[in-house]
């Protein structure tokens, strides 16, 4: 595998970084776009069959410092569906048509950080394969997290056994890998039954591991489904563990929440709607859902009204008398900012773009809409701080070199 990725080094690079100016819409996908996507998928699969060793992927050459997420699990457990829904915005209902994955599929997620997502075919056991030995270092060397997908609607004993074997293998050479178990396809199950399954799986894994003398292995469990927000929430948790100095980010958000009387604030990756940080109040699925849907609304509006160029006369008229100012100077903020007041208890939600990839979304306390101007100033300060933060943490060589960044002073 390592040779394969080395061969790839030369040619593919551009298309990851040059994403669209604005993120793609989520709920509405035109038939044409969908079709294009399908054709692309098919071509990719055909290419893979033709030349298995050379995996056409979108990764950039320097894999160094780019955390890698591995998706593994039994065949038909839903790995490819997960990566399509989360990273390619495939509508969940369309995942029925995905074919089974024959080779390792690599995707990259370019955002505030660069991630690679590797989707492993379920039928291959990489630790015990007579035909082909995998280069373990190439696979697990740079790994950020191993995501193991278990189909909760199926008999999961074999999956659990394989997961145990994998953990034991990895534990020897790579003890620091986070292992995230997605107990998947829980949408059809009752709440009680979900918890039962989670308990059962947890106990089976822990018993097995402690029998083998492995204590405190870093294994986490998530209940997921592609038909609701749970898969995004689970990915959020996984990715947050990979962010350098997450604590600083959270402190900034917590501080903002306290100062501005926010109930909950999220820092979203707009493209995937994964949140990369939140304040330290308890997790709450409902507020994540509404914030994530709000991002959707904004994306949709932006596509309809913001994605086409206005005419020159239009600009000239607006910049002429009585305004007599370039349009850029007439606006207060060059990034998107938005607010909406919910009718119930007049609770506002606000959104502010941080940069091309990130947006800050917060639910505010009731009645604070009148104080929007002050809040906007505070948010401005925090956004500046966030920008600085990512400036500093981006080059991986100086990962430890951000001690000077205290939480920004809020008004």
């Amino acid at each position: 595998m390592s040779s394969a990725s080395a061969e790839e080094d030369g040619d593919v690079s551009a298309d990851t970084s040059s994403g669209p100016f604005r993120p793609r819409p989520v709920r509405y996908i035109s038939p044409a776009a969908l079709n294009l996507h399908r054709v692309y998928e098919q071509n990719r699969q055909r290419l893979q069959k033709k030349d298995g060793a050379k995996v056409p992927d979108a990764t950039t050459p320097q894999t160094k410092g780019r955390p890698r997420l591995l998706l593994m699990g039994q065949r038909r457990s839903g790995k490819s569906s997960i990566s399509s829904v989360v990273f390619h915005k495939l509508p969940p209902t369309e995942t029925l048509f995905l074919e089974s994955t024959a080779r390792i599929q690599k995707d990259s997620l370019s955002s505030f950080m660069e991630f690679q997502v590797w989707d492993f075919p379920g039928q291959i056991d990489i630790f015990d394969n007579p035909n082909f030995t995998f280069d373990m270092d190439a696979i697990f060397g740079e790994i950020g997290a191993l995501i193991w997908v278990i189909d909760a609607q199926d008999d999961y004993l074999e999956a659990v056994a394989r997961l145990n074997a994998t953990i034991l293998h990895l534990h020897r050479s790579y003890p620091h890998i986070n292992i995230e178990v997605f107990i998947h396809k829980v949408d059809g199950l009752s709440d009680d039954y979900r918890l039962d399954i989670q308990r059962d799986v947890t106990i089976r894994i822990q018993d097995e591991l402690s029998d083998q003398g492995v204590e405190n292995a870093p294994v986490n469990f998530h209940l997921t489904s592609i038909y609701n927000h749970s898969i995004f929430e689970a990915f959020s948790k996984v990715i947050q563990k990979l962010i350098p100095r997450l604590g600083q980010l959270e402190a900034m958000l917590t501080n903002l929440c306290r100062t501005c009387r926010f109930e909950k604030a999220y820092l979203f990756d707009v493209n995937t709607k994964i949140y990369i940080a939140t304040d330290n109040t308890p997790e709450d699925m409902a507020s994540y859902e509404i914030c994530s849907d709000y991002v959707d609304v904004i994306i949709d509006f932006t596509e309809v009204y913001g994605s086409w160029p206005r005419s020159e006369q239009w600009r000239e008229r607006l910049e002429g008398e009585p305004w007599a100012q370039p349009l850029d100077d007439q606006v207060a903020c060059e990034w998107a900012e938005s607010g909406m007041v919910l009718a119930e208890a007049r609770r506002p939600i606000m959104l502010r773009e941080v940069d091309r990839f990130l947006a800050l979304v917060a639910i505010m306390k009731e009645g604070s809409y009148e104080k929007m101007p002050q809040i906007n100033m505070n948010v401005d300060v925090v956004v500046k701080g966030l920008t600085e933060f990512f400036e500093i943490t981006k080059p991986k060589e100086i990962v430890g070199g951000a001690p000077g960044l205290a939480s920004p002073g809020l008004a």
């Binding site: 409902a286 609304v297 309809v304 009204y305 086409w308 206005r310 005419s311 903020c333 919910l342």
Partner: protein
Amino acid sequence: MSEYDTNMGASPATAAGGDPMSASAAHAQLKKVKKQKVLLMGKSGSGKSSMRSIIFSNYLARDTRRLGATIDIDLSHVKFLGNLTLNLWDCGGQEAFMENYLSQQRAHVFSNVGVLIYVFDIESRDVERDLATYVNIISALVQYSREAKVFVLIHKMDLIQPMTREDVFDQRATLVRRKTAEAVAIMHKQKPEQGASSGSNNQALQPSSSPTQPTSTPTPTTSEPPINLQLFATSIWDQSLYKAWASIIHDLVPNLSVIETQLASLGLAIDADEILLFERTSFLVVSRWTSREGERNPYGDRFERMSNILKSWKHTCSKYTGTPRNAEQFSDFEYKMGATFSMFATKFTTNTYILVCMPPGEARFNSAKLNVAAARSWFKFLDGPVVPTQQAGGARGMGASSGYGGDGVGAPES
């Protein structure tokens, strides 16, 4: 905008009737005028009740799975814009019911119909039979309510391959148009005297059906079929449903010309690029105005998309706040996209929301918001019964007394 013009015939008459009357007379007249009988028909399982639930009861598309078959006729009164009530007759489509409508209940079902919405299932295996039923329905309709408008929805288009959708729709549309013309022609032959009297004042209403006047029509008595027919391809899984229903509703709204003129002057006054006026519960676009620059927007389906987006957002809100789906979910929204554009949506009159999209600029944005708030009183008549605008104050009082509910007078911003 040819369909805009077609509607004008109805509204001035009702508007003129309003002013010289005393309150009680107006009340009585109001009751008579504002109720519009809407028939929703089609074969069993074609999706009539599903679309009704989505549009008027805020169901999500996937929620419609739990709807059962409609037995006989499901009557519902939908309040729309305060001064218009839709009498929605959701007619169960099983054959036994259909026969019943066409025989025993014929006069009861088909008299005084304002609009017939006929739903075809595109996946249906027995197209001939569907069309035969349709022809029977049309004949009955022509017999009892000549002025009724007909909307044919070719439904479940999501089941057709995206590439071929347009062709499939065109094919079916031609077929339906031909059948309609034939049915109407036959009715003409049977009842020429009735056809001549009431068909004549309606001939002008031919926005979409006249160009496809088929060659095979056995020479009808009038040169064009006196039926106002519009066809739409719909699916509950995308915004096409909103497009169809918005046109249906659009034709029923009284005082439409007044709304449009006022919306246009508001748009010019605040320098907007686009203004959309939504009905409060269904979020269907009642009226809209677009500047010349706004016309350059490449998204022709943006109106129904806006309905769709806001409707699903409403759903998210109701899930979050735990309030009923039909309750009002948000009051103010603003969005400034840097130096590209700004937009805001706000609760406008009691029954409407307004969405304004405009050029960027803080000063422009804030003054537009104030101006829109000030313009509310122009649109007060949307909450009351049908009267000309200068009588808007009286209109509000009547709106409250006509049992519209307490919020007829509750607009706090006066």
